[in-house]
């Protein structure tokens, strides 16, 4: 235990690559430099993270983007107000299917280009073909019901005319078991973060069909969830942590550090997987299966493009999907809770002394930016990445009722 650290913070994390900004904050000394003794505790399930932050074992944790919303909305066994003062990055997920499903999709016109509209159309044809011959519905896995994975898989399917609640089955499988479950035929496809898609491709048991970065460009994934009571009682510790995370994220983004970062994450205290396995998420160079490779721009963004800014529009989009799939009713009270969950104000206040570029707005119209765009910001210049949905839709957080009504009717027409 280091003596004299000004702040002691305990953080829970799951052994997934996108915990890297939190891990590097400690291991590369960014937390110590901010006067923080940061204790990292590895967990085995999101349920444990959820329970331990609720009862105060953890002050903050690596969390799925929608999870703090679920905690605050009372969807969890122990209700606990959880806020999001920092995003751990954008993107990083893929959708992978078994060889058998891929071969049938190819017969229905899919080509290995990751284009969500095209592979989705092929999957839709396959599902309708199977329905006429009374086959069991295809079974897909996600990592947790309240996850970006679940919502982006459902969004993709619904936009391609597939009803994810009726025409396929969606179950939960922990990320490290996904590739094995696919190989054993227990599931037909899954949506998970890297390296668990490349794992199936390397084992020659699966094909990648699309990626998060193409479904919704520069979209939110993992976040720092903080127990609200802790954050309110320890504003200085929180601000110091956010500065440490900011420096860590900048370091993680820098290509010159990627080998060192991959080595760090490979350690047995973190992922315990070879460093080479971590490289596709850092480079965006993916093997799709069948010898095809693609490089995806903005595949995983730990820092650039305001990746760490906790946009309220990200939280509100998750909220619209929770409403869409029946997790929660759309009420004024629930909407207010969702609106207050992500806290750009705390992010801005903590980083202001650093003189770095900060977005001036708390929310944006998601899908409005078609190309990288410089934005008016406090201090130095800031460029936001394109944030389009693959189906050309936009999400205006000021028109949330219309968006929810629109997506509901889209499903009931199926």
């Amino acid at each position: 235990m280091s003596m004299g650290a000004e702040h002691q913070i305990t953080a829970g994390f799951m052994p997934l690559f996108d915990s890297t900004v939190l891990v590097a904050a400690r291991e590369m000394g960014f937390a110590a430099r901010e006067g923080i003794e940061l204790k990292l505790q590895r967990e085995t399930s999101w349920a444990n993270i959820r329970d331990r932050i609720a009862i105060g074992h953890f002050d903050v944790a690596h969390m799925l983007g929608p999870m703090p919303l679920a905690c605050s909305l009372g969807l969890t066994p122990i209700a606990s107000d959880t806020i999001v003062p920092f995003s751990l990055g954008l993107g990083g997920n893929c959708i992978t299917v078994s060889n058998a499903v891929w071969n049938r999709m190819a017969a229905h016109g899919a080509v290995p280009d990751l284009d969500p509209a095209r592979t989705g159309a092929a999957l839709g044809s396959l599902i309708r073909e199977r329905a006429t011959s009374a086959c069991e519905p295809l079974r897909f896995a996600v990592v947790h019901p309240h996850s970006g994975h679940n919502y982006e898989l459902r969004y993709w399917l619904a936009a391609c005319g597939i009803d994810p609640s009726r025409e396929i089955e969606i179950i939960v499988v922990p990320p490290p078991f996904m590739a094995d479950a696919l190989a054993a035929g227990r599931i037909d496809g899954y949506c998970v973060g890297e390296p668990w898609n490349s794992a199936a491709v390397a084992a020659e048991t699966g094909h990648m069909v699309t990626v998060k970065a193409l479904l919704w460009r520069n979209s939110p994934e993992k976040v720092i969830g903080a127990r609200k009571a802790w954050a309110e009682a320890n504003p200085d510790a929180l601000a110091a942590l956010l500065r440490a995370l900011h420096h860590s994220a900048r370091w993680c983004q820098n290509r010159e550090n990627h080998n060192e970062l991959a080595e760090l994450m490979a350690g047995s205290r973190f992922l315990g997987l070879p460093a080479s396995v971590q490289m596709p998420i850092l480079t965006g160079r993916l093997k799709l299966g069948g010898g095809v490779e693609r490089t995806i721009e903005d595949f995983f963004v730990p820092f650039d493009k305001a990746a760490n800014f906790p946009w309220k529009s990200h939280a509100l989009w998750f909220y619209t999907q929770m409403v869409r799939w029946g997790d929660i009713a759309h009420t004024a009270r629930n909407l207010a809770i969702a609106r207050d969950c992500y806290r750009p104000d705390l992010y801005r206040a903590a980083l202001k002394p650093l003189g770095v570029a900060l977005p001036g707005a708390n929310a944006k119209v998601e899908g409005a930016l078609k190309v990288a765009t410089p934005v008016g910001s406090a201090g130095a210049s800031l460029v936001l990445g394109p944030d389009g949905f693959f189906d050309g839709q936009t999400f205006d957080p000021d028109e949330i009722d219309g968006y929810i009504a629109g997506q509901k009717s889209a499903v009931s027409h199926l």
């Binding site: 349920a47 939960v172 078991f177």
Partner: protein, 200 residues
């Protein structure tokens, strides 16, 4: 009997701990206890067993999968919620502290389930204590062996008596503010690097 006994399902990959819990539950008069170590095909097992209470260790990486399954009506006939009473914060905390979570079917009265949860929590704690003590005893034994080897190296290379060798180790540890076993480890490692002769 006023009512049929509750069916309890224990899901724990640790066989020893699972059997300790099972024994405890049986001793408390619960006859319908099933223990599962491996979650493969668990949906079918749950449909067969129709448990009233499910106890899962928190180390189980399948906890997210199991929780989600409990919420799917196809897998279980009655809805299952975590813990009996959301307002009972103290017992929830005790359970998480102990490393156990419990799920119960809706409608069960708290007084019927609480003793089961309490039993699981106390048995989990007892098991952790036992495992900790075992680990301490083991590392104590290893440290002693390490110190013996370090003493042997010093006796041989510096021509010291056993007592003098130990005193030197202890003094070095005190000066460097480290444990004797750490110093012994360093010495054994260094000796291993410098020459094979020392290690016998």
């Amino acid at each position: 009997m006023f009512h049929a006994s509750l069916a309890v399902l224990v899901i724990d990959e640790n066989r020893i701990r699972a059997s300790i819990i099972e024994a405890g539950l049986r001793a408390a008069g619960h006859e319908r206890v099933t223990v599962i170590h491996d979650v493969t095909g668990i949906a079918r097992r749950i449909a067969e067993i129709e448990p009233d209470v499910i106890v899962i260790d928190l180390e189980n990486p399948n906890r997210d999968m199991l929780e989600n399954m409990f919420q799917l009506s196809r897998a279980v006939k009655r809805p299952i919620a975590m813990f009996v009473d959301r307002s009972d914060q103290a017992s929830i905390e005790a359970a998480v502290e102990a490393g156990v979570s419990a799920y119960v079917v809706d409608g069960l009265r708290q007084e019927r389930v609480k003793p089961i949860l309490d039993m699981a929590v106390s048995r989990f704690n007892a098991f952790s204590r036992m495992a900790r003590e075992l680990e301490e005893a083991r590392s104590e034994l290893e440290n002693r062996k390490l110190i013996d080897r370090a003493k042997g190296i010093l006796m041989k290379s510096r021509g010291l008596s056993e007592e003098a060798a130990y005193t030197l180790l202890r003094k070095t540890a005190m000066n460097q503010n480290r444990k004797i076993s750490d110093i012994a480890q360093s010495l054994v490692t260094a000796a291993g690097l410098l020459g094979p002769a020392e290690d016998e």
